[in-house]
Symmetry: C2
Subunit: 562 residues, 2 copies
């Protein structure tokens, strides 16, 4: 493609209103144009990359037997009423009325449509399993669209839905999808992790999020470099420490701690380290008071507490409730002679002679030992993991990184099939609800995530798998006829094996080089003054490795290096 | 692809509510599923064919330098206000409000968006010409959606827009597009004609419609088989007859014609042929009365009258107006001593001694001759052409056929660039509005048009260029293990060179054959009883040519015949 006939409106200035690196580079490289908040036109470079990503997604879906369809954008309200989501989805669901005053949603996801589609066509378990997918523009009325394509209101998704007559089949497809997603995100060049996740608005139990590691993500991922281990910090299990040899238990002692209302203040007051203190909290678990002790430098993880107690609702007891039940203020609580059951974190379980509140305002005990001074109702993992601790799979020390969610796989179970009567006859002729899975890839978001992790301070560095063109041919001086002829001829030759962008514009060399770095194709071939000696310069965008190559050897060079 | 894992819900019964053959076959072949009036899910077969059509469109657009982009579905109202179409487009424009109560249109076409996009980025004529296109789902709230994908409310379009600094450039791209469209419709196997057309709501002057000839079209096309000639009957020029040798002019005579108020009645009364009569009409052309005579068997074409007079508005005079100005009733009008200018059709110009009304109720003249009995203010083409007449290009006798509009090319000129301030600096540094063209292909409609013209009474017959699969392998008896193994092996071998659908379902042979005819792949390979002797049956879907082929020769046979 000749660049003069392409539409790549690059910018010299860095756009000030862009909130993320990918957003900034996409604007600067002339890849997108905002038409309204969170609504963009995808310009030629973007469209080429999207087509490449879509093709990778399509191949991986086909490889696991996924069949492509295309469902409508406009969803009749009636179907969303059946699933209960016309109300539940809230104001993120875009809605409209047609000329006959009938209500429609603009599809943000297609569970209702696909379930309605199949309930009319699917009669017997013999037609199962079945996996259908589509790649399509979707709509979500984000309250605060931002980060360019990362959080838009109109965006491209691949969504797939699978249908099964038994759990084993659902599990098998879920595994296939998990692997296909791993292939997709590897192929497009993302450093990603699959993490267990909450299922959010869609509902269901088994689910993983595929997170591209990135500094601008909204979730924190605990991961190791040594294995594929990754978990949302909300879920990441803490290591259970080994019990130490029994320490000598010193005598329990009550000490005055006037004004001490935090672990930091206590450590200071007692002249000990923060990690030698404990923190006592009282929570209401489904209405019942419990006390939990964690180490002073740790942070309570309410999701783990809820999971431990298999509770529906948990909340911190209010100051008033605490004073009512414990007869002391929150800063002076402790387990000794506590009137509620006491649970301790694994890490407290290996401590001895530690300080706690005395349940008397202004007093703490020191040299507390569980077993001797109070009985524990249970020991568990009640806290957030911290960086540097061993990962659950023991592969190494966990690191933290923010992540951009680029994909998610769900086991929906019978949530939609039961709500919307998608049943089949099983082997015994009984009508049973169909088991479903749903699987999403944020295609336009993936593009942004790729840029977030493939760039330098001059611009984008496209992975070869998704690059809009393979090679950028540039004439340094467009008035040099010899160079221009050589470039035209290279353009033709290389064009037979590579996707080539040829910068034939009448711009200064500096502008061309800056644009070229910004656009970030894997290889650049510069036809400059060296052409007098039959030489061109070839430069790799990622390694910046540069070579003077005889023009007759360009194909050879690229064959060896590309 | 194994058919058991594909989703092709064919029907045994012919759907009763389908209004066109393509609609019927698409339902019966399990290709589409209606979700709401005019809104469909495209099932796997349809999606494969759409992908093929889209790829052909994309290639032809790329061949003429078109660059692919993707514009949003949601269009801010403000842009449609600028062009004046927020009001003008009427209730076919689907509209919605976002959570902040801002108005958006769901794009039926993208002139506003692309003009707004370019006005910020385009500064100089040097960046022109430029052609951008997209393939996208569009929305139009049809009052009466019907014919399946032919008139839907949500449909797939390829729309392209070109930008120019001078007419010559616009004309060149228009010609390129015209040729690309011809290639597209030829490649997908349509019998089409490019016809001059009115520009409808989009506005502009130069425009052609690409019509797929079909019995269910809504427009009537006059065309010849001998050339590419085609015109909407509203535009098709009538042949100008050669003047005959002067006939002897008989004496003008007034005759009583009581109760005669039509040409048919007049012919009957005078015992002459209808083609020997004339029809006199009085019209108001931009408010001025004129009289037009055409032959008795012809029909007045108001569009031609408007074009002849270059008039803004034309209408038939009311009975009251006629009696006021002519002192006679509509059935008795004539040119002799008429008080308004008289124009005659070319075909009347070669008549002599013809009857006309006498401008006295109940009386006609016979033996009227223009020149002698009245002066003509002009002679022109005022009527619709009829089948069998010579075409304007003299290539042959015109035939009539209905046509489905599958594409349209427009020269928009400066309509949008002036309304929305899309200007560039020209060679002389003056700011000038950009000339634009726009070019549409109805992708989903094209699919329907293909079926309308490629089928027999058993089902669809896909052209090879768009077929969802090349070859259908069928085992007649799925319990025959030898046949099944042979089929599996063929599936693998042929799969390396062809797209193969393998009907591995446990269905009766009759069901499989019926489905196969319905789905209509170019070649069918049946592995039946003959496999005992190593033979399979290969049948071409179009010619129905059938051959017994040794299983080792299948690839050879297809190589020679496909």
């Amino acid at each position: 493609m000749k660049q003069s006939r392409m539409f790549i409106p690059t910018m010299r200035e860095t756009p000030q209103d862009a909130e993320s690196l990918s957003h900034r580079y996409m604007l600067k490289a002339g890849m997108i144009k905002q038409m309204a908040s969170g609504i963009y036109t995808y310009l030629p470079i973007t469209k080429l990359v999207l087509n490449n990503i879509e093709q990778i997604v399509r191949e991986e879906m086909n490889n696991i037997g996924g069949v492509e369809i295309q469902m409508p954008v406009l969803h009749p309200r009636e179907l969303w009423e059946e699933s209960g989501r016309w109300q539940a989805y809230g104001s993120e669901l875009m809605r409209m009325k047609d000329r006959h005053d009938r209500d429609f949603a603009l599809g943000p996801t297609h569970e209702e449509i696909i379930t309605a589609l199949l309930r009319d066509e699917l009669k017997s378990y013999k037609k199962l399993p079945l996996t259908l997918f589509q790649i399509q523009t979707k709509f979500r009325d984000e309250l605060r669209p931002r980060f360019g394509l990362l959080r838009g209101r109109e965006f491209i998704m691949k969504d797939a839905y699978s249908f099964h007559s038994n759990e084993a089949s659902l599990n098998e497809t879920y595994r296939d999808m998990y692997n296909a997603y791993s292939n997709i995100f590897s192929r497009v060049g993302l450093n990603y992790r699959a993490v267990e996740a909450d299922s959010g608005a869609i509902g269901g139990s088994h689910t993983h999020e595929f997170m591209a590691l990135s500094e601008i993500g909204e979730d924190i991922i605990a991961y190791t470099d040594e294995s594929g281990y990754a978990a949302n910090v909300e879920k990441a299990a803490c290591p259970v420490p080994e019990m130490m040899a029994d320490a000598e238990q010193r005598a329990l002692e009550k000490v005055a701690t006037p004004g001490v209302d935090s672990c930091l203040a206590l450590a200071d007051h007692l002249n000990i380290e923060l990690i030698d203190t404990t923190k006592t909290m009282v929570l209401k678990v489904d209405g019942e008071f419990v006390m939990i002790l964690i180490r002073g430098d740790h942070e309570l993880n309410e999701i783990k507490v809820r999971d431990y107690f298999r509770a529906g609702e948990i909340e911190f007891a209010s100051d008033e409730e605490i004073r009512g039940v414990m007869k002391a203020s929150p800063g002076s609580l402790g387990p000794v002679e506590a009137s509620v059951p006491v649970y301790i974190d694994h890490q407290v379980n290996v401590m001895s002679n530690y300080p706690t509140g005395a349940n008397i305002d202004g007093y703490h005990f020191i040299n507390v030992n569980h077993g001797r001074d109070f009985e524990t109702a249970g020991t568990g993992d009640f806290r957030f993991i911290t960086e540097g601790e061993r990962a659950e799979d023991d592969s190494g020390a966990v690191k933290f990184m923010k992540g951009i969610e680029v994909g998610q796989v769900f086991q929906l179970g019978t949530k939609y099939s039961e709500a919307m009567n998608l049943n089949v006859l099983d082997e015994n002729g009984r009508s049973v609800p169909v088991l479903m899975g749903c699987y999403g890839v944020g295609v336009s978001r993936t593009l942004s995530a790729i840029i977030e992790s493939h760039h330098d301070d001059r611009g984008i560095i496209w992975p070869k798998s998704v690059t809009p063109f393979d090679i950028h041919i540039i004439t340094a001086n467009p008035k040099d006829e010899e160079a221009r002829n050589a470039a035209e001829s290279l353009y033709e030759t290389l064009g037979r094996e590579y996707k080539v962008l040829y910068d034939d514009r009448k711009e200064r060399a500096g502008v061309k080089f800056a644009d070229s770095d910004l656009i970030g194709l894997p290889y650049r071939v510069v036809v400059g003054r060296g052409i007098k000696e039959g030489k061109v310069e070839i430069k790799a965008r990622d390694s910046e490795e540069t070579a003077e190559v005889d023009i007759s050897q360009v194909t050879e060079y690229l064959k060896a290096n590309y």
